[in-house]
Subunit: 435 residues, 2 copies
Amino acid sequence: MGPVEIARRAREAARKLAAVPAEEKNSFLRKVADGLEQSCGAILSANAADVESARITFKEIPLAPSALERLKLDETKVDGMAAGIRAVAELPDPSGRVLSRTLLDDGLVLEKVTCPLGVLLVIFESRPDAVTQIGALALKSGNAAILKGGRESARSTAALLDVFAGALASFPGIPAGALSSVAGRAGVDALLALDEHIDLVIPRGGYDLVRHVQAHTRIPVLGHAEGVCHVYLDRAADEAMATAIVVDSKLEYPAACNAAETLLVHRDAAARFLVPLLGRLVQAGVEIRACEKTRALAPSLGLAPATEKDWRTEYGGPIRSVKLVESLDEAVKHVNRCGSHHTETIVTDDKLAAEEFLSHVDAAGVFHNASTRFADGFRYGFGAEVGISTSRVHARGPVGLDGLVTYKYLLRGSGQIVATYNGTNARPFLHRKLP
Amino acid sequence: MGPVEIARRAREAARKLAAVPAEEKNSFLRKVADGLEQSCGAILSANAADVESARITFKEIPLAPSALERLKLDETKVDGMAAGIRAVAELPDPSGRVLSRTLLDDGLVLEKVTCPLGVLLVIFESRPDAVTQIGALALKSGNAAILKGGRESARSTAALLDVFAGALASFPGIPAGALSSVAGRAGVDALLALDEHIDLVIPRGGYDLVRHVQAHTRIPVLGHAEGVCHVYLDRAADEAMATAIVVDSKLEYPAACNAAETLLVHRDAAARFLVPLLGRLVQAGVEIRACEKTRALAPSLGLAPATEKDWRTEYGGPIRSVKLVESLDEAVKHVNRCGSHHTETIVTDDKLAAEEFLSHVDAAGVFHNASTRFADGFRYGFGAEVGISTSRVHARGPVGLDGLVTYKYLLRGSGQIVATYNGTNARPFLHRKLP
């Protein structure tokens, strides 16, 4: 099947899926979870073949050890996938929720109701677990999904999709086109052009993948290309708290998108404790790139100078840039200018300063006295996450199932026409909010 | 100032505007309304010059009479603009609303709060009243706006912007860059490329304008290119109600985007009353383009045959296509395939059929026993409207002030770090919803 045919079939399936009751979708997901456990052997041998190819050589360039680690499945990981799908089945259905009801006039009720977006295109790199996670979230929310995995995980992806196909066979109410896949870059580029049939693209991968997708489609893209997050230690920052948050926001998981790349320090806080704090980071193996003021303050540490580029770089590893600022305002301006509008935090005992930071910083998450690493769907209590969005429209920040639905207006009348409410002697509307 | 400079200045202004209290924004809007009344003479003479140029010749092609009508201002229209701005000042502030609060753990509270989108680019054709309406809605919601009017209304637009500039001079808290304008197609095309600085484009105009904008930008576009809406008369449609809705949904305002272009009629309803209904439309001056089954049913009316193109055409005038269907399912499929996902209505006394239509039709508005013409921000009770959106992400259907805001997550902690909640001995989250 070509990309256009796949997308058309997905659109058709999405329209049917939108009307499938929650309980049927949940039973289907539980069936998939059972199927994963039953097919564990087949999945692991497909995955072993992927890992073997990747280990020997991949496009003449061997896969990085971290990518190989993400690619590799074992029994525990497959059990985890099944448990993840069962957890999604337990979540409330995000579709069909009544957001508001208004009595426009007697016998004329307007309802705003959530409904699925339609067709999702999900592009991921070497993580086979994205197949089950995104497949489950898409179907739970009533969306059809087209998946495109990396070449290095082709056999694993196929084995996992076989499990979904097996479950589909025993649920005639769930259309087969609800979950499909394409292979190859040409296939995905063709799909990115089909804005008539595809409603949202979710790229799960590194900077290059996300930028490529953003540059080659007019379909809305949910996600983020990079996370340049900041910790700002205000004049009134508590030393112990500042140290704990600075360490956590980088060392807890240096490659995470919500790890903080840049440390901004108010001159007064810097005078109190920046030198021992930086000493501690250096000791923990963090490479520091510092502004001139910071270097002058801590000559004994021999810190490397930061360039303009450092203020806009996501290091993805144990490197951190440090800048001394003269005021809260300078910190806010730096964050708004150089950040990626992902997650920003201020450490301070001054409530007014905190509220000013919260209201002036332009980002999906703005925190006070908490680590940037809290920016995450599970930590926020969403139960499951499709990604973290840095765009402003639709969904922002960590996105759970609610980011996969839109809404429609249902108007139930008893023969009303607009002419009655127009012109001279126009009948007035009631516009009364209903519970 | 070049487009990049204008956009940068707007971004800067938007960040300041986001923190301006509601009362200050409302006072500013009332000042603009007063200014409009005081400058009425200057506005009308600028407008008279625009009208005179347009009347003689415009780009060698005279303006259509309806466009000339929209261009022309008088004292009543200027008073109406002032009243409109005062009404916007009275609406609740869409920004700063708390959408949800969650206690993640003791002393760690997550808040989801609405905030402005940022910078809007609004492109409109020959309606000078769009300047005051959109200007007021943008500033009310805390957004900066860049306006691009048609060449034919250049002097009127400048006179109206002068009024905003005059009010800005007495409100130092509202940054001057919050409202700016560009002229010329080259200027607007340059702005459409600045997705880093502009967050939403609102094209207010005809099909060609909207399509041009959609095809030339990666910035999200709020609006609709066309409205191909349907009235479906079900098997159990009441004749009198069906007739009233069919007439209203086209003749009340044939050029409206929510006017119904296609009439779908179940064979049983057609047998009961389609011939007299069509006779009535023909008598009212509506040109009918009918499917073969309809033509066979009403040979005496000599109806023109509909082509495949008719099913996807917004006529924008007193023309209507008519199709006889054999079932509700056929009607739903036709609507989903040929409609523009704007507004669709079913007329029936059969509640089950109505609910099936409401749940299976894929459109921003799906109605039962009501005219498609109700799809409108004022009729829905939004107080003001920025447009009607047929996209699925962000805002859908008639869009009020709520469509000009997004949200951000504020997390207020007391020093929490993620390491506490990870690994062995991980502290569990509370995830308790707060009022």
